[in-house]
């Protein structure tokens, strides 16, 4: 039933450092669970990939409620990485996703380097995993010092240790936070440590005060800001990192709601994109964005994502720029 290409010439497939995907649209970690709930609204195997919610070693209750607050064109969340633990995930969630024929990108999160390494080892030993996403940037952890991606050295320590246990040829991506002064320095250090590519960006740390109580609204006090409100920040991050590291495959994520939004990320230098918070508004959003992106490319005369990746960095009027 694939009607994802709008013309005979359009080919949406992309290559992310060896990860071949039929189209560049994925779910964002933490916004699609492991695909099961969304499969009743669209065929998750039609997406470029499903990125699972970050899994940790042990079962985890997450934080107290309230865990979310609506904000203008976005939301704050402080889930606190609730999850069943790696054992249950590998026994139940992952086999279902792989069995459905979806490309499974498994996101892992740890409190220590050792936890990341154990998770990476167990995930990559499981059949059907298309790639690993290493979440070193979740803001909802007890200790801000554990946000490895805030520091280039800590970030590279995790990635280097994980790379050592990930089989050659299995792509691994590091997910980074925009809440740093020098994102390019962090990006460079994790690429040097062996990351195949980068996922830009995780949520921004935010806070809301309840007007009734004049106290923090979230149970976890601070939360991660996501949704269309953060899209310009995410596009800026993709732009900066692509300018500095043009050979590194980037996955753009942050506030994508439409195919036109996704196109913006490709133009800034992303090879693929992830659709996250807008799933809460429209559970079919990932497949809708895929179709809309195909349309956006076709109407501009492009034959595939490769035509447009990073195009915003080139002067107007070049040959690749068919809309000039």
């Amino acid at each position: 039933m694939s009607d994802l290409s709008t013309g005979p010439d359009l080919d949406l497939s992309v290559d992310l450092g060896g990860l071949r995907l039929p189209n560049p649209v994925m779910t964002a970690s933490g916004c699609a669970a492991a695909g099961f709930e969304l499969d009743q609204f669209f065929d998750v195997a039609e997406l470029g990939a499903v990125v699972t919610k970050s899994i940790m070693r042990e079962p985890r209750s997450g934080r107290a409620t309230p865990r979310m607050a609506e904000t203008p064109a976005g939301m704050l969340n402080s889930i606190g990485l609730q999850g069943p633990g790696i054992g249950s995930f590998l026994a139940t969630d992952l086999p279902w996703l792989v069995g459905r024929g979806a490309r499974a990108v498994v996101s892992i999160a740890g409190g220590t380097v050792e936890e990341f390494v154990e998770l990476a080892r167990r995930v990559t030993a499981s059949p059907g995993v298309a790639a690993l996403e290493v979440n070193i940037s979740c803001p909802n952890v007890e200790n801000r010092g554990l946000v490895f991606a805030c520091d280039p050295r800590q970030a590279s320590t995790v990635i280097e240790a994980v790379r050592a246990v990930v089989p050659d040829g299995l792509p691994m991506f590091a997910k980074l936070t925009p809440d740093v002064t020098d994102l390019v320095a962090v990006a460079r250090s994790v690429v040097d440590a062996g990351a195949t590519g980068l996922v830009l960006i995780n949520t921004l740390l935010g806070l809301r005060i309840d007007p009734a109580t004049l106290r923090p609204l979230l149970g976890g006090v601070t939360g991660g800001l996501s949704g269309p409100a953060v899209r310009p920040v995410a596009v800026r991050c993709v732009w900066q990192v692509h300018a500095a590291l043009p050979q590194v495959p980037l996955i753009g994520v942050g506030g994508i709601r439409t195919g036109a939004d996704a196109l913006e990320f490709l133009a800034a230098g992303a090879t693929a994109v992830q659709v996250g918070t807008v799933i809460f508004n429209d559970p079919s959003a990932p497949i809708r964005v895929t179709r809309e992106l195909a349309h956006e490319l076709a109407v501009r005369g492009f034959v595939g994502p490769a035509d447009v990746i990073g195009i915003a960095h080139r002067p107007r009027g070049q040959t690749q720029d068919r809309i000039a």
Partner: protein
């Protein structure tokens, strides 16, 4: 390798159309044409509406218990909800006019469980929590159950469906905190005597958390089963956002933070850790050691 088939769709994502919006006391009664949804809906199910249109800056879905459904042809089945205006999202819904489009997901969640035997049942509702109770009463009647209703609110215009209750139930007791209609006080003031008099086996409740907790306690003391439809804030309504959790004890005796959208909104009253809602109680599966999170 063989591919697992897609999971059957229990819920639909439809572009509903407003048939009518009417003010009823302090509330609004919204009727939506939502083809395919009525046939699948059972009492206790809810729907999640997107507010503000396709480019709205309000991203999160608003969840509402279904008041009633009318099955119809391909273009005529309707779903009705009752709500209070709490903020800009519900204000947008209240301002809708006939034929306006609304994105609807539904039916969602687990509905009320029905007794297998024709036993006496008491349905307790706070404010517009009465919305799902009329369809439930109908189902219970169809099974031969005697149905009693208790409707409570702060004041008269915050009651919903008193007349309809009188048509749906063998007995109706009304309480208001200010005494403007029925007995002055709360639903739990009248409940113990009612449960005893009617020999109630199952108590169904829907309303604010504090009321559900109190009703579950009374039911427990009386030795009745209880089924409570909880009202937790949700972002998605379909099980992916993990925001609408509350501590619930499983068959294995272990407390877990469970999603009220897919494992609820109806829970057994004796399984919810009412005293710990809004917290992660000690001993919960995966709870932080030493209260760290």
């Amino acid at each position: 390798m063989s591919v697992t088939p897609r999971r059957p769709s229990t819920s639909l994502q439809v572009r509903a159309q407003v048939q009518s919006v009417r003010q009823v006391g302090a509330y609004h009664h919204l009727t939506l044409v939502a083809p395919g949804v009525p046939e699948r809906t059972r009492p206790g199910h809810f729907v999640a509406l997107a507010v503000g249109g396709d480019s709205s800056a309000m991203l999160l879905r608003r969840a509402f218990s279904v008041y009633r459904v009318r099955e119809g042809g391909v273009h005529t089945g309707t779903v009705e909800i009752v709500f209070a205006v709490h903020g800009p999202g519900t204000a947008w819904l209240a301002a809708l006019r006939a034929h306006d489009p609304v994105a609807l997901l539904g039916p969602l969640g687990r509905p009320f469980a029905l007794p297998k035997e024709p036993v006496p049942c008491t349905l307790v509702a706070g404010g517009y929590g009465s919305a799902p109770m009329f369809a439930l009463a109908e189902r219970l009647h169809a099974r031969g159950c005697a149905v009693h209703m208790v409707l409570g609110a702060a004041t008269e215009n915050r009651l919903f469906g008193v007349l309809e209750a009188k048509r749906s139930a063998q007995s109706v007791t009304v309480t208001t905190e200010d005494g403007s209609l029925g007995q002055r006080g709360r639903v739990t003031d009248v409940l113990p005597a009612l449960l005893a008099r009617t020999r109630t086996d199952v108590v169904y409740s829907c309303g604010p958390m504090g009321m559900l907790r109190a009703v579950a306690d009374v039911a427990e003391q009386h030795g009745s089963h209880s089924q409570c439809a909880v009202e937790e804030a949700m972002a998605c309504g379909v099980g992916v956002c993990m925001t609408c959790v509350l501590p619930v004890v499983g068959d294995d005796g272990i407390t877990r933070m469970v999603r009220s959208c897919v494992e609820g909104p109806v829970f057994r009253g004796d399984r919810v850790r009412w005293d710990a809602v809004g917290t992660v109680p000690d001993g919960t599966l995966g709870a932080p050691r030493q209260g760290a999170h």
